[in-house]
Subunit: 273 residues, 2 copies
Amino acid sequence: MKRSDRLISLTRYFLERPHELTRLSTFAEKYDASKSSISEDVNIIHTMFEKEGIGSLHRYSGSSGGVSYIPYFNKTDSNAFIEGLCNTLEDPDRILPGGYLYMSDLLGDPQTIRQIGKAFVSAFYEQQIEAVVTVETKGIPLAYAVAAQLGVPVVIIRRNMQITEGPSVSINYVSGRSKRIQTMVLPKRFLNEGMNVCIIDDFMKGGGTVSGMVSLLEDEFHAKVVGIGVLAEAQDEENEQMIEEYTSLIKVSHLEMDKQRITVKKGNYFSDK
Amino acid sequence: MKRSDRLISLTRYFLERPHELTRLSTFAEKYDASKSSISEDVNIIHTMFEKEGIGSLHRYSGSSGGVSYIPYFNKTDSNAFIEGLCNTLEDPDRILPGGYLYMSDLLGDPQTIRQIGKAFVSAFYEQQIEAVVTVETKGIPLAYAVAAQLGVPVVIIRRNMQITEGPSVSINYVSGRSKRIQTMVLPKRFLNEGMNVCIIDDFMKGGGTVSGMVSLLEDEFHAKVVGIGVLAEAQDEENEQMIEEYTSLIKVSHLEMDKQRITVKKGNYFSDK
């Protein structure tokens, strides 16, 4: 096999398996090439990945050594994407009764999800995250987009006890704005005790749901929540957020039903520093 | 930029954007190269993609012409993956009360989801699918994995009316085995009338849920269901499936709680023909 062919094949191999360690000898066998040729291929791809701002190939030496693709993404690249998203979301047709914003069409587009996932990875790639946690339903694709790049599993908190998921821990919490008591359930098998996790969700209004997730994870599973990422937060002068430290990609404010006006700006990830 | 660098960059570009058409002149500008060089690069990548069984690069000529990556995957590759999955699932620890099988850990792993998505794409890539439809919750990551490769959006049917999704159509249906009446809701904005869709779900027992989805889609949205894919079907001598034509990747049978025994075999996609 020629070098050009190997480069194409290896590029795909690494992109599909973030954080997975593969030995050089595995590649040498697969491509019937010398380890030194493979090593050169890896260098070429590493340099190109760094140049394109999508991460790097890490080498680990020793008997359990090998190569692993560690993605990280450029915050500046995400910035342009999020600006476009803000413009799309400012359409008054998106305002729904109760001060909600229709975003489901965007969340249904795999390409948009991929870009949002990259933005979160650029925010969290330095944390030692062992699982990505979300609550059903709309945060699920975002959680998978992040988890795929971090090479970790997704854990989905449910709204009801599920017969197909075995013994579970349930908690009640008060939702931020409506002050209603709600339930969330996490099956015991889903998460080992004491893991480092990050929380991903689509929308945060009062922060009640996220705060409930933190309680469930930290108090019941002794997990450490090392990051909280929300796609959109609702900014509201009257109500304080129940959560202090989080990363938001966009900020929705001035949702005025009467005037059919809405303001969508970049979230604290892009604007606070 | 050298050819080797362009090949790495282009490989990533195509893999990330299935079914998206890009003009050769766009690449020529991006890489500061002649169109004939780009054209050669495209040929090299096309040949390699075909060799690796992951699809091909299609050329479209004329004024709106360009190149587009059309993924298809080898059924034989999926076959080996599904055999491994069957072995994993036959573990008696996975049997839950009521004859359910614990699969959530596998569904939480992005790499497993990617492989399952590929198997469905290998089954459905010849259909002209315009959207992938699933019902919350566990089919969602599978639906995204399929939709990303087909280059189409995902539509999620909900169990309850959602305030954040606007006017919706609801139907009641009878779940296959428990004979309980249940509800499903599809917001009107989610789907245009008359689209070709495929249904993806994680588990099919009596087929009641899938049959409800077909009614909702065909009767209320005048959609055409051109494919139905379920990860696992429960095989049961006593009850007939309510759905006749579908593609299953695995078949679960002999779920005997007392004996703690379970049989997991390949589904009809691999075994019927």
